[in-house]
Amino acid sequence: MRLTRRTLIAGSATLAAPAVVRAQSGTSQSEPIRIGEINSYTAVPAFTLPYRQGWQLAVEQVNAAGGVLGRKLEVISRDDAGRPQDAVRIAGELVGEQKVDLLAGGFLSNVGLAISDFALQNRRLYVASEPLTDALVWEKGHRYCFRLRPSTYMQAAMLVGDAAKLKAKRWVSVAPNYEYGTSTVKWFKQLLAQQQPDATFVTEQLPALGRIDAGATVAALEAAKPEAILNVTFGPDLTNFVRQGNTRGLFEGRSVVSVLTGEPEYLDPLGDETPAGWLVTGYPVDSVTDPANSAFIAAYQAKFNETPKMGSVVGHALISSIVAGLLRAGGTATEALCDALPGASFDTPFGRAMWRAIDHQSTLGTYVGRTALKGGHGTMVDWRYVDGADALPSNDVVRKLRPA
C-alpha cells in the first residue's frame, strides 16, 4: 500500500513538471499562473510530504473551481535537499527558466532566509510557508517576503500565558542546538519573565539536532530538580527524549510545556508513551469539528486516504493565501502582488487569516491544549484555537524589530 502511494506521489509530481516547449508570446489569459515552490522534500520528509499533499489538494480545488482570474494554477515544485545554497540556484532556475510568477515554500529557517534574500535582490515575491525564524519578517524582513506559519515568537507567546499560571519557579529547558531551538527558548524566557518575574531557568540543555543523547540529557535535567520543563525538541529527538524521560520518571509530578508537540507528525510517533498533561501547541485533527476543518479533513482523506497533518494544513493554506493576493492584485505582476498581499485575507482549514501589513506575517494561528492518551494514541484535549494576531507583539515593538 505504502509503495503504491509513494509511487503515485512521485508520478503526479513528474506529471506536474512543466512542458519544455512553451509559447513565449501567447495570450497570458490561457497560460497558467505558475508558483515556483521549493522545499526540503528529501531532507525532512516527515513534515514536507504531508505538506506537499496539502498544496496539491488546494491546487486541485482551485482549478476545479475554475482557477484564478480565469487562469489555471500550476505549481512547479523542487527539492532543495536541505541546503540553502541549492535553494538559491533552484530559485534562479524557477525564475529564469520556468518563468514562475512568484516563489513559495521553505522548511528550514536558513533556506527560507536564502530564498528571501534572493527575492529581495531580484525583486520577486516570496511567500515562505514553514520557516519559523523571526528574522524572516523582522530583522531581515523586506517588501518581497511574506511568511505564513506562526513564528518561534508566536509559538512561545501562545504557551506562555498558561505556563505562567503553573506558578513554577525552577524551570529547565531542552531545545535543539540551532536557531529554532535557541530562539524559542529566548522568547519564552523573556515573555515568562514579564508575567512571572520570580521564574528562573536553572539549566538549558541544547542537544544537537537529530543526535540527542537522551539518557544524558534527561539525567542532566533531573539533576537540576526542576519544577517545570520547557521542551522544544521534535521528531526523532522528541521520541528518544520522551522514552528516556518516562522510564526515568523525569515528568512525574512536573509540569511540561512543549512546543509543536501536539502536531500529528510529532505526536503520532509517541504512541502509547505520550505523556499526559503536557501544555503544547499543535493540531487536534481527531477532535476538531468546525466546518472549515471538517471539510478540509474530509477532502484530504478522500484524496490521500490518510488524516492530514500540520504540514498538510500549511500546504493548503499556502495556496489560499497566494490566491487571495492574486485576486486582490488582479494579475501576477510582482509589485502589484506585493501591494495587494498586505491586508488580504484568506480562508484556511483553521479559519480566516490575513496578511499583516506591518510585518508581512500572516495571522494563521495554531491550537493550544494539553496532551492525553486515548486508546493507545496521543491526542490533544482542552484545546483552543489561538489566532496568530493575538500572539504577536504590539505594533511599536514590531516597528523596532523590523528596520525595513
Binding site: R89, D117, Q121, D213, G215, A216, G235, P236, D268, P269
Partner: protein
C-alpha cells in the same frame, strides 16, 4: 553524589551504544582497509528491519532477542550482497575509491528506505518489560540501559575470541598483514573478506536493532550515526576493537558530564576530543603504525605535462566557456559559475590529496573560511568586492598555515580525520557565533554594481577559478611539485637528498587552503549569502566525491570530476523525486566502470598513461 552515580551509569550505557555503532566499522577497516561510508546506512537498515520483524512478533523477551538477532543476520546478508556485487570489484582500485562507492550506496539506501518504510518515524512500541527500571540512589534508572552496559563488553569479548582463538580469526589476521602470501598458501581471500564484511554489517545491524527500543527507526539515523562511528574508531585507533571500546567510554563519559557544565558543547565536544587525542597520539589510543599491507601498495604513475591533443581540447573548452555569456541566459550562467567554483574547490583538494598524498575529510573548512571572510568584509565592514575576494583566500591560507602544523605530522586516515575534526570545530564556532550570524548566516553578499550583471560576474568567476586552477597546475609541475611527490612516494629518500617533507606538505596544505578560500569567496558573491552549511561534512564529502570521480592520480581529474558531479546533481535533482537513488546508482556505475576515475579511464583508452 547520587547524581554522579546516575550520570556515570548513563555514560556507561552511552558508551555501549557508541561501541556497538563503531565495532562493525573498525572490524571492516582493520581487515579490508575499506572506509565503509555506508556503515550508517546498514545501522539504519538494521533498525528498520528490526522494527518490521519485532512489530510482527510476540513481545516477550525471548522473542525480542530472536527478532534482534534476525535483524542483525538480515543486515549481514545485505552486507554480503554489497561486498559481492560492489566492493569485491574495487579492492585493488586506488585508495578511498571504496569511500566513493559506499557513498553511492548511502544515497541509494536513503531513497529505498523512504520508498519501503515511508517518511514517518517508526517507533517500536515498548512492552512493559522494556520500560522497566531499577531504583539506584533514589532515582529511576532504565533496566534496558543496564542491559546495554553489559552487552558491549560481551560483544567485545566474543569478537576478541573470534579473532584470536579460531582458525578463521587467524586467517583474517594473516590477511591484514600479507594478502599475497596468504593467497600463495591457497586461502580463498574472497570468502574471507566477504565473511568479514558480513560480520561488520551484522554488527551495524545489531547496533541499529539494539538502539530501537530507545527511540524510533527514522530516515536521519544514517547520517547521525556515521560521524560518531568514525570518531570512535579513529580515537580508538583504526582496526583496534579494545581501542574502540576505550574511545567510546571516553567520549560518552565526557559527553554525559560535559553537557551539564557546557550545554552548548554538544555540537563539537566529540571532535575536540578527537583533535586532542590525535595531537597526543597520532594513531589513536590503541592504534598501531599502519604498515602498507603487502599486495596492496600502488606505484603511482608519473605525471607529465599534457599532450598537445589535451591542450587543444582544453583550449576549445575554454573558448566555449568564454563565449557562454553570448550563448545562454542568466540561469545557465549561474549554473556554470557554480561549476567553476566547484572546479577550483575540487582542484585545491586534489593538490593536497593527489600530489600531496594527504587525504582531507574537512576541506570545506577552507572553502567556508574564505566564504565567511568575503561575506563579513562585504556586510560587516562594507568593503568593496575585490577586497572580499582578496581577504577570503588570504584568511583561509593563514588559518591553514596555523593548522597545518598539527596536521602534517599525521598520515593516512588519521590525518583525514584530524582535518574533519578541525572543520567541525570551525563549523561549530561559525554556527554559534553572533558575529557570523549563527545558523541564519550572512545575507546580502551580492557583487558590486559593476559586476552585478550575471555575464560580468560569470567572466570574473571564470578568470579567478580557471586562473586559480591553472596556477595550481603550474605549481604542481614546478620543482616544488616534483619535490612534493617525492616526499609522498618515498619520504626517507626525499629527506636523504635534502628535501624537508614536513615543510613541503605544510606548503601544499597552505596552498590548497588558499585556493579553496578563493573558491569560497567567489561562491559567496555568486550565491548572495553564506551559511554554516558551507562548512558542513556534506560539503567536504562533495569535494571528495568530485576528486575521486575524476581520478586522484590525474591532473585533469578534479576538473572532469567537478563538472561531472555538479552536472549530474543539477540535472537529477530537477528531473526526479528519486534523485538520490539515481545519483547513487550513477556513482556506483561510474566507480565500477572507471575505477581510476573518469579522467584516469580516458587516459587508459587513449593509451596515454602519463598525463
Amino acid at each position: 553524589m547520587d547524581a554522579f552515580l546516575i550520570q556515570l551509569l548513563t555514560g556507561l550505557a552511552g558508551a555501549s551504544s557508541l561501541f556497538l555503532v563503531a565495532a562493525g566499522l573498525t572490524v571492516i577497516f582493520g581487515v579490508t582497509r575499506v572506509v565503509n561510508f555506508s556503515h550508517g546506512s546498514l545501522f539504519m537498515l538494521g533498525a528498520y528491519i528490526a522494527w518490521s520483524v519485532l512489530t510482527r512478533l510476540p513481545r516477550e523477551p525471548g522473542w525480542h532477542v530472536a527478532g534482534v538477532l534476525t535483524a542483525a543476520l538480515a543486515t549481514a546478508g545485505i552486507g554480503v550482497l554489497l561486498e559481492m556485487t560492489l566492493l569485491r570489484r574495487i579492492y585493488r582500485a586506488p585508495e578511498l575509491l571504496q569511500l566513493l562507492a559506499t557513498f553511492g550506496v548511502v544515497l541509494m539506501v536513503q531513497d529505498l528506505a523512504l520508498l519501503i518504510w515511508g517518511p514517518d518515524d517508526l517507533p517500536l512500541p515498548r512492552p512493559p518489560w522494556l520500560r522497566g527500571f531499577v531504583r539506584i540512589a533514589e532515582q529511576q534508572f532504565p533496566l534496558y540501559d543496564l542491559v546495554l552496559i553489559a552487552i558491549a563488553p560481551l560483544v567485545l569479548g566474543a569478537l576478541w575470541l573470534g579473532f584470536t582463538r579460531t582458525r578463521w580469526g587467524t586467517l583474517v589476521r594473516a590477511a591484514t598483514q600479507d594478502r599475497d602470501m596468504l593467497a600463495a598458501l591457497g586461502v580463498d581471500q574472497r570468502l574471507l573478506f566477504t565473511s568479514v564484511f558480513a560480520l561488520g554489517a551484522g554488527l551495524a545491524g545489531l547496533g541499529g536493532a539494539l538502539a530501537l527500543p530507545d527511540g524510533s527507526a527514522n530516515l536521519q539515523m544514517d547520517m547521525a550515526v556515521i560521524t560518531d562511528a568514525f570518531v570512535v574508531v579513529v580515537v580508538g585507533g583504526m582496526g583496534s576493537l579494545p581501542g574502540a571500546y576505550l574511545a567510546a567510554l571516553l567520549i560518552a563519559l565526557l559527553q554525559t558530564f560535559g553537557i551539564v557544565l557546557l550545554p552548548k558543547a554538544t555540537l563539537v565536544l566529540m571532535f575536540v576530543v578527537m583533535a586532542l587525542v590525535l595531537a597526543v597520539r597520532p594513531h589513536g589510543l590503541l592504534g598501531r603504525v599502519q604498515v602498507p599491507t603487502r599486495g596492496e601498495a600502488h606505484a603511482y604513475a608519473l605525471i607529465r605535462p599534457a599532450t598537445p591533443a589535451l591542450c587543444a581540447l582544453g583550449a576549445v573548452v575554454l573558448a566555449l566557456a568564454l563565449a557562454a555569456p553570448l550563448l545562454v541566459g542568466p540561469f545557465w550562467l549561474s549554473v556554470l559559475t557554480e561549476a567553476l567554483v566547484a572546479m577550483l574547490f575540487a582542484a585545491s583538494l586534489h593538490a593536497m590529496m593527489g600530489p600531496g598524498g594527504m587525504i582531507n575529510f574537512g576541506h570545506a573548512a577552507w572553502f567556508g573560511i574564505g566564504a565567511y571572510a568575503a561575506a563579513l568584509a562585504a556586510r560587516g565592514l562594507s568593503m568593496p568586492m575585490p577586497v572580499g575576494l582578496f581577504l577570503g583566500p588570504l584568511l583561509a591560507g593563514l588559518v591553514a598555515l596555523a593548522f597545518g602544523w598539527f596536521v602534517v605530522r599525521l598520515s593516512g586516515i588519521y590525518l583525514a580525520m584530524l582535518t574533519l575534526a578541525f572543520a567541525q570545530i570551525v563549523w561549530a564556532v561559525v554556527f554559534q557565533s553572533e558575529t557570523t550570524g549563527g545558523d541564519n548566516g550572512v545575507l546580502g553578499v551580492w557583487p558590486d554594481a559593476w559586476a552585478h550583471d550575471p555575464r560580468v560576474f560569470y567572466l570574473l568567476a571564470l578568470l579567478l577559478c580557471v586562473g586559480g586552477t591553472l596556477a595550481l597546475r603550474r605549481v604542481l609541475f614546478s620543482p616544488f611539485g616534483y619535490a612534493l611527490r617525492a616526499a609522498r612516494d618515498a619520504p626517507e629518500r626525499a629527506e636523504a637528498i635534502g628535501l624537508f617533507p614536513a615543510r613541503l606538505r605544510m606548503a601544499a596544505f597552505c596552498l590548497a587552503g588558499t585556493a579553496a578560500g578563493l573558491a569560497g569567496a567567489v561562491g559567496a558573491y555568486s550565491k548572495g549569502s553564506v551559511f554554516p552549511s558551507t562548512i558542513s561534512i556534506g560539503r567536504s564529502v562533495d569535494a571528495l566525491l568530485m576528486v575521486l570521480l575524476g581520478g586522484v592520480q590525474t591532473m585533469a581529474g578534479p576538473v572532469v570530476g567537478a563538472l561531472a558531479y555538479t552536472g549530474l546533481y543539477d540535472v537529477l535533482i530537477r528531473a526526479t523525486d528519486l534523485w538520490r537513488l539515481a545519483l547513487g546508482a550513477a556513482i556506483v556505475v561510474l566507480v565500477l566502470a572507471f575505477p581510476q576515475g573518469i579522467a584516469g579511464a580516458a587516459q587508459h583508452v587513449t593509451g596515454d598513461d602519463a598525463t
